[in-house]
Protein backbone atom coordinates (compact mmCIF):
# COMPACT_ATOMS: atom_id res chain seq x y z
CA UNK A 1 0.00 0.00 0.00
CA UNK A 2 1.51 3.33 -0.97
CA UNK A 3 -0.54 5.55 1.28
CA UNK A 4 0.67 9.12 1.55
CA UNK A 5 -0.48 10.34 4.91
CA UNK A 6 -0.65 13.87 6.18
CA UNK A 7 1.63 12.94 9.01
CA UNK A 8 4.50 11.53 7.00
CA UNK A 9 4.31 13.40 3.73
CA UNK A 10 6.34 16.59 3.82
CA UNK A 11 5.39 19.53 1.65
CA UNK A 12 7.97 19.82 -1.08
CA UNK A 13 10.07 22.94 -1.58
CA UNK A 14 10.20 24.25 -5.11
CA UNK A 15 12.56 26.30 -7.22
CA UNK A 16 11.12 29.24 -9.13
CA UNK A 17 11.25 27.22 -12.32
CA UNK A 18 9.46 24.24 -10.78
CA UNK A 19 6.80 26.53 -9.40
CA UNK A 20 6.24 28.11 -12.79
CA UNK A 21 6.06 24.73 -14.52
CA UNK A 22 3.62 23.27 -11.98
CA UNK A 23 1.32 26.28 -12.17
CA UNK A 24 1.41 26.59 -15.93
CA UNK A 25 0.98 22.92 -16.80
CA UNK A 26 -2.04 22.40 -14.56
CA UNK A 27 -4.04 24.69 -16.83
CA UNK A 28 -3.37 22.68 -19.96
CA UNK A 29 -0.87 22.24 -22.75
CA UNK A 30 -1.65 24.22 -25.93
CA UNK A 31 -2.50 21.82 -28.73
CA UNK A 32 0.09 23.07 -31.21
CA UNK A 33 2.80 21.35 -33.21
CA UNK A 34 5.57 21.95 -30.64
CA UNK A 35 3.59 22.29 -27.39
CA UNK A 36 6.50 22.09 -24.96
CA UNK A 37 8.44 24.71 -26.90
CA UNK A 38 5.38 26.96 -26.80
CA UNK A 39 5.02 26.66 -23.02
CA UNK A 40 8.78 27.05 -22.52
CA UNK A 41 8.61 30.26 -24.55
CA UNK A 42 5.80 31.60 -22.33
CA UNK A 43 7.85 30.84 -19.23
CA UNK A 44 11.10 32.18 -20.67
CA UNK A 45 12.97 28.90 -20.33
CA UNK A 46 14.29 26.42 -22.88
CA UNK A 47 12.24 23.50 -24.13
CA UNK A 48 14.93 21.19 -22.77
CA UNK A 49 14.71 22.75 -19.31
CA UNK A 50 10.92 22.41 -19.33
CA UNK A 51 11.03 18.74 -20.33
CA UNK A 52 13.74 18.02 -17.79
CA UNK A 53 11.81 19.74 -14.99
CA UNK A 54 8.60 17.98 -15.92
CA UNK A 55 10.33 14.59 -15.94
CA UNK A 56 11.91 15.30 -12.57
CA UNK A 57 8.59 16.39 -11.00
CA UNK A 58 7.02 13.16 -12.24
CA UNK A 59 9.92 11.04 -10.94
CA UNK A 60 9.58 12.68 -7.52
CA UNK A 61 5.82 12.07 -7.61
CA UNK A 62 5.11 15.78 -7.09
CA UNK A 63 3.07 15.31 -10.24
CA UNK A 64 1.24 12.01 -10.40
CA UNK A 65 0.67 12.27 -14.14
CA UNK A 66 1.12 14.45 -17.18
CA UNK A 67 -1.19 13.83 -20.09
CA UNK A 68 -4.74 14.02 -21.35
CA UNK A 69 -7.39 14.21 -18.64
CA UNK A 70 -10.25 12.16 -19.90
CA UNK A 71 -13.85 12.89 -19.12
CA UNK A 72 -15.00 9.35 -18.43
CA UNK A 73 -18.66 10.31 -18.65
CA UNK A 74 -17.98 11.54 -22.17
CA UNK A 75 -16.28 8.34 -23.21
CA UNK A 76 -19.39 6.24 -22.87
CA UNK A 77 -18.04 4.40 -19.85
CA UNK A 78 -19.32 3.99 -16.33
CA UNK A 79 -18.14 6.22 -13.50
CA UNK A 80 -19.19 6.46 -9.91
CA UNK A 81 -18.14 7.40 -6.41
CA UNK A 82 -18.59 4.68 -3.83
CA UNK A 83 -18.10 4.49 -0.09
CA UNK A 84 -17.57 1.73 2.44
CA UNK A 85 -17.55 1.42 6.21
CA UNK A 86 -14.48 -0.62 7.14
CA UNK A 87 -13.51 -1.56 10.71
CA UNK A 88 -10.11 -0.20 11.68
CA UNK A 89 -8.51 -3.59 12.28
CA UNK A 90 -9.40 -4.67 8.75
CA UNK A 91 -8.60 -1.41 6.97
CA UNK A 92 -5.27 -2.39 5.45
CA UNK A 93 -6.52 -5.70 4.22
CA UNK A 94 -9.67 -4.18 2.72
CA UNK A 95 -7.57 -1.47 1.05
CA UNK A 96 -5.44 -4.10 -0.63
CA UNK A 97 -8.52 -5.94 -1.86
CA UNK A 98 -10.25 -2.81 -3.16
CA UNK A 99 -7.11 -1.39 -4.83
CA UNK A 100 -6.55 -4.69 -6.62
CA UNK A 101 -9.55 -3.91 -8.84
CA UNK A 102 -8.48 -2.18 -12.08
CA UNK A 103 -11.80 -0.35 -12.03
CA UNK A 104 -10.74 1.55 -8.89
CA UNK A 105 -9.17 4.74 -10.24
CA UNK A 106 -8.79 6.65 -6.95
CA UNK A 107 -9.22 5.60 -3.38
CA UNK A 108 -9.13 7.89 -0.36
CA UNK A 109 -9.32 7.25 3.32
CA UNK A 110 -11.63 9.76 4.96
CA UNK A 111 -12.39 10.58 8.56
CA UNK A 112 -15.99 9.48 8.87
CA UNK A 113 -17.86 6.32 9.68
CA UNK A 114 -17.84 5.80 5.92
CA UNK A 115 -14.07 5.76 5.87
CA UNK A 116 -13.14 4.45 2.42
CA UNK A 117 -14.17 6.43 -0.67
CA UNK A 118 -13.24 5.31 -4.14
CA UNK A 119 -13.94 6.20 -7.74
CA UNK A 120 -14.90 3.35 -10.04
CA UNK A 121 -14.41 3.77 -13.77
CA UNK A 122 -15.51 1.08 -16.19
CA UNK A 123 -15.59 0.88 -19.93
CA UNK A 124 -19.30 0.12 -20.08
CA UNK A 125 -21.89 1.68 -17.71
CA UNK A 126 -23.37 -1.72 -16.85
CA UNK A 127 -19.99 -2.89 -15.50
CA UNK A 128 -20.37 -0.60 -12.48
CA UNK A 129 -22.94 -2.84 -10.80
CA UNK A 130 -20.77 -5.87 -11.49
CA UNK A 131 -17.68 -4.20 -10.01
CA UNK A 132 -19.60 -3.15 -6.91
CA UNK A 133 -20.92 -6.67 -6.38
CA UNK A 134 -17.41 -8.08 -6.82
CA UNK A 135 -15.96 -5.61 -4.29
CA UNK A 136 -18.72 -6.41 -1.81
CA UNK A 137 -18.04 -10.10 -2.13
CA UNK A 138 -14.23 -9.70 -1.95
CA UNK A 139 -14.33 -7.51 1.17
CA UNK A 140 -17.54 -8.55 2.88
CA UNK A 141 -18.66 -4.92 3.29
CA UNK A 142 -21.60 -3.07 1.78
CA UNK A 143 -20.72 -0.54 -0.91
CA UNK A 144 -22.75 2.69 -1.05
CA UNK A 145 -23.01 3.73 -4.68
CA UNK A 146 -23.17 7.50 -5.20
CA UNK A 147 -23.05 8.22 -8.94
CA UNK A 148 -23.21 11.85 -9.95
CA UNK A 149 -26.69 12.95 -10.88
CA UNK A 150 -25.74 16.47 -11.89
CA UNK A 151 -22.35 18.09 -12.43
CA UNK A 152 -22.04 21.72 -11.43
CA UNK A 153 -18.34 22.30 -11.73
CA UNK A 154 -15.04 20.55 -12.22
CA UNK A 155 -11.86 22.51 -12.16
CA UNK A 156 -8.79 21.46 -10.29
CA UNK A 157 -6.06 24.01 -9.91
CA UNK A 158 -3.59 24.18 -7.10
CA UNK A 159 -1.37 27.25 -7.36
CA UNK A 160 2.00 26.98 -5.60
Amino acid sequence: MSAATEQTQATAEFTEMERAVINRLQTGLPLVRRPYAAVAGELGITEQALLHTLEDLLDRRILTRFGPMFHAGEMGGGLTLAAMRVPEQDFEDATRKVNAFDEVAHNYRREHELNMWFVLATEAPEDIARAIAAIESATGYAVYNMPKEEEFHVHLHFPV
Binding site: M1, A4, E6, T11, A12, I22, Q26, T27, L29, L31, V32, R33, R34, P35, Y36, A37, E47, L54, E55, I62, L63, T64, R65, F66, G67, P68, M69, H71, A72, E74, M75, G77, N99, D102, A105, H106, N107, Y108, R109, R110, E111, H112, L114, W117, F118, A121, E123, M146, P147, K148, E149, E150, E151, F152, H153, V154, L156, H157, F158, V160
Partner: protein, 171 residues
Protein backbone atom coordinates in the same frame (compact mmCIF):
# COMPACT_ATOMS: atom_id res chain seq x y z
CA UNK B 1 -18.61 3.71 -28.90
CA UNK B 2 -20.81 6.76 -29.21
CA UNK B 3 -21.02 9.44 -26.59
CA UNK B 4 -22.89 12.62 -25.97
CA UNK B 5 -21.03 15.74 -24.97
CA UNK B 6 -21.81 18.34 -22.36
CA UNK B 7 -20.67 21.22 -24.56
CA UNK B 8 -23.11 20.54 -27.34
CA UNK B 9 -25.93 18.19 -28.08
CA UNK B 10 -24.03 16.59 -30.90
CA UNK B 11 -22.73 13.11 -30.42
CA UNK B 12 -19.04 12.61 -30.69
CA UNK B 13 -18.14 9.19 -31.93
CA UNK B 14 -14.92 7.83 -30.49
CA UNK B 15 -13.45 5.80 -33.32
CA UNK B 16 -10.86 3.06 -33.17
CA UNK B 17 -7.97 5.47 -33.79
CA UNK B 18 -9.12 7.79 -31.00
CA UNK B 19 -9.27 4.78 -28.71
CA UNK B 20 -5.74 3.83 -29.67
CA UNK B 21 -4.57 7.35 -28.93
CA UNK B 22 -6.25 7.25 -25.54
CA UNK B 23 -4.66 3.89 -24.75
CA UNK B 24 -1.26 5.17 -25.85
CA UNK B 25 -1.44 8.31 -23.68
CA UNK B 26 -3.41 7.37 -20.59
CA UNK B 27 -0.13 6.66 -18.81
CA UNK B 28 1.13 10.06 -19.95
CA UNK B 29 2.00 12.14 -23.00
CA UNK B 30 5.52 11.49 -24.39
CA UNK B 31 8.00 13.95 -22.91
CA UNK B 32 9.77 14.76 -26.15
CA UNK B 33 9.76 17.93 -28.29
CA UNK B 34 7.36 16.37 -30.81
CA UNK B 35 4.92 14.23 -28.80
CA UNK B 36 2.40 14.04 -31.66
CA UNK B 37 5.08 12.77 -34.03
CA UNK B 38 6.18 10.14 -31.51
CA UNK B 39 2.60 8.93 -31.06
CA UNK B 40 2.08 9.03 -34.81
CA UNK B 41 5.05 6.75 -35.39
CA UNK B 42 3.65 4.29 -32.87
CA UNK B 43 0.26 4.23 -34.55
CA UNK B 44 1.22 4.81 -38.16
CA UNK B 45 -0.39 8.25 -38.41
CA UNK B 46 0.99 11.62 -39.49
CA UNK B 47 1.77 13.92 -36.54
CA UNK B 48 -0.74 16.47 -37.81
CA UNK B 49 -3.53 13.94 -37.70
CA UNK B 50 -2.66 12.95 -34.14
CA UNK B 51 -2.77 16.60 -33.15
CA UNK B 52 -6.05 17.18 -35.00
CA UNK B 53 -7.63 14.21 -33.24
CA UNK B 54 -6.56 15.51 -29.84
CA UNK B 55 -8.00 18.90 -30.74
CA UNK B 56 -11.31 17.32 -31.75
CA UNK B 57 -11.53 15.21 -28.61
CA UNK B 58 -10.79 18.25 -26.48
CA UNK B 59 -13.37 20.35 -28.32
CA UNK B 60 -15.93 17.59 -27.78
CA UNK B 61 -15.13 17.35 -24.07
CA UNK B 62 -13.83 13.79 -24.19
CA UNK B 63 -10.52 15.24 -23.06
CA UNK B 64 -10.88 18.03 -20.52
CA UNK B 65 -7.31 19.18 -21.20
CA UNK B 66 -3.78 17.85 -21.52
CA UNK B 67 -2.30 18.79 -18.19
CA UNK B 68 -0.24 18.03 -15.12
CA UNK B 69 -1.99 16.30 -12.23
CA UNK B 70 -0.28 17.13 -8.97
CA UNK B 71 -0.22 15.21 -5.75
CA UNK B 72 -1.94 18.01 -3.87
CA UNK B 73 -0.48 16.90 -0.53
CA UNK B 74 3.01 17.46 -1.88
CA UNK B 75 2.04 20.94 -3.03
CA UNK B 76 1.06 21.89 0.50
CA UNK B 77 -2.69 21.37 0.10
CA UNK B 78 -2.73 18.90 2.93
CA UNK B 79 -6.35 19.38 3.87
CA UNK B 80 -8.77 18.01 1.37
CA UNK B 81 -12.30 18.43 2.61
CA UNK B 82 -15.22 16.77 0.92
CA UNK B 83 -18.03 19.02 2.12
CA UNK B 84 -21.41 17.33 1.87
CA UNK B 85 -24.79 19.06 2.18
CA UNK B 86 -28.37 18.00 2.68
CA UNK B 87 -30.08 20.36 0.25
CA UNK B 88 -33.80 20.57 -0.46
CA UNK B 89 -34.49 18.77 -3.73
CA UNK B 90 -36.37 21.71 -5.23
CA UNK B 91 -33.41 24.02 -4.60
CA UNK B 92 -30.49 21.80 -5.44
CA UNK B 93 -29.91 22.70 -9.09
CA UNK B 94 -29.87 26.39 -8.34
CA UNK B 95 -27.74 25.99 -5.21
CA UNK B 96 -25.37 23.56 -6.92
CA UNK B 97 -24.67 26.11 -9.63
CA UNK B 98 -23.96 28.82 -7.08
CA UNK B 99 -21.66 26.59 -5.04
CA UNK B 100 -19.89 25.42 -8.21
CA UNK B 101 -19.10 29.01 -9.11
CA UNK B 102 -17.13 29.62 -5.92
CA UNK B 103 -13.48 29.87 -6.94
CA UNK B 104 -12.24 27.51 -4.24
CA UNK B 105 -14.62 24.64 -5.08
CA UNK B 106 -12.81 22.19 -7.35
CA UNK B 107 -15.64 19.71 -7.97
CA UNK B 108 -19.34 20.04 -7.27
CA UNK B 109 -21.87 17.29 -7.88
CA UNK B 110 -25.35 16.21 -6.96
CA UNK B 111 -25.37 12.59 -5.75
CA UNK B 112 -28.09 10.29 -4.38
CA UNK B 113 -28.96 10.08 -0.71
CA UNK B 114 -28.92 6.71 1.07
CA UNK B 115 -31.62 7.24 3.67
CA UNK B 116 -31.74 6.92 6.57
CA UNK B 117 -28.02 6.50 6.77
CA UNK B 118 -26.65 9.13 4.39
CA UNK B 119 -28.79 12.20 3.77
CA UNK B 120 -26.31 14.43 1.90
CA UNK B 121 -27.04 15.07 -1.76
CA UNK B 122 -24.62 17.86 -2.72
CA UNK B 123 -20.86 17.28 -2.71
CA UNK B 124 -18.38 20.16 -2.99
CA UNK B 125 -14.64 19.50 -2.79
CA UNK B 126 -12.58 22.13 -1.01
CA UNK B 127 -8.81 22.11 -0.56
CA UNK B 128 -6.71 24.10 1.86
CA UNK B 129 -3.35 24.36 3.55
CA UNK B 130 -4.97 24.12 6.98
CA UNK B 131 -8.15 22.74 8.49
CA UNK B 132 -9.17 26.30 9.42
CA UNK B 133 -8.92 27.34 5.79
CA UNK B 134 -11.21 24.48 4.72
CA UNK B 135 -13.67 25.30 7.51
CA UNK B 136 -13.69 28.95 6.56
CA UNK B 137 -14.48 28.00 2.96
CA UNK B 138 -17.22 25.62 4.10
CA UNK B 139 -18.83 28.41 6.09
CA UNK B 140 -18.79 30.60 2.98
CA UNK B 141 -20.66 27.81 1.20
CA UNK B 142 -23.07 27.53 4.12
CA UNK B 143 -23.86 31.25 3.85
CA UNK B 144 -25.22 30.72 0.35
CA UNK B 145 -27.86 28.19 1.35
CA UNK B 146 -30.17 30.10 3.63
CA UNK B 147 -32.98 27.73 4.62
CA UNK B 148 -32.46 25.36 1.68
CA UNK B 149 -29.92 23.21 3.54
CA UNK B 150 -30.78 20.98 6.49
CA UNK B 151 -27.26 20.05 7.56
CA UNK B 152 -23.75 19.40 6.43
CA UNK B 153 -20.46 17.82 7.40
CA UNK B 154 -16.88 17.79 6.16
CA UNK B 155 -15.05 14.55 5.42
CA UNK B 156 -11.30 15.10 5.48
CA UNK B 157 -9.06 12.71 3.64
CA UNK B 158 -6.28 11.28 5.75
CA UNK B 159 -4.55 9.17 3.10
CA UNK B 160 -4.45 8.65 -0.65
CA UNK B 161 -4.85 4.89 -0.95
CA UNK B 162 -4.72 4.80 -4.75
CA UNK B 163 -4.52 7.37 -7.52
CA UNK B 164 -4.04 6.01 -11.00
CA UNK B 165 -6.60 8.10 -12.83
CA UNK B 166 -9.16 6.84 -15.28
CA UNK B 167 -8.03 4.05 -17.54
CA UNK B 168 -9.44 2.35 -20.56
CA UNK B 169 -8.72 -1.33 -20.55
CA UNK B 170 -6.75 -2.75 -23.43
CA UNK B 171 -9.26 -5.00 -25.10
Amino acid sequence: MSISTSRSDQEYVLCELDRKLILATQGGLPLVPDPWGTLGKELGLPADEVLARFQRMQDAGVIRRVAAVPDHYRLGYRFNGMTVWDVRDDAITDMGRQVGELPFVSHCYRRPRHLPYWNYNLFAMVHGTSREEVEDKASQINDLFGDTCEGHTILYSSAILKKTGLRLRKS
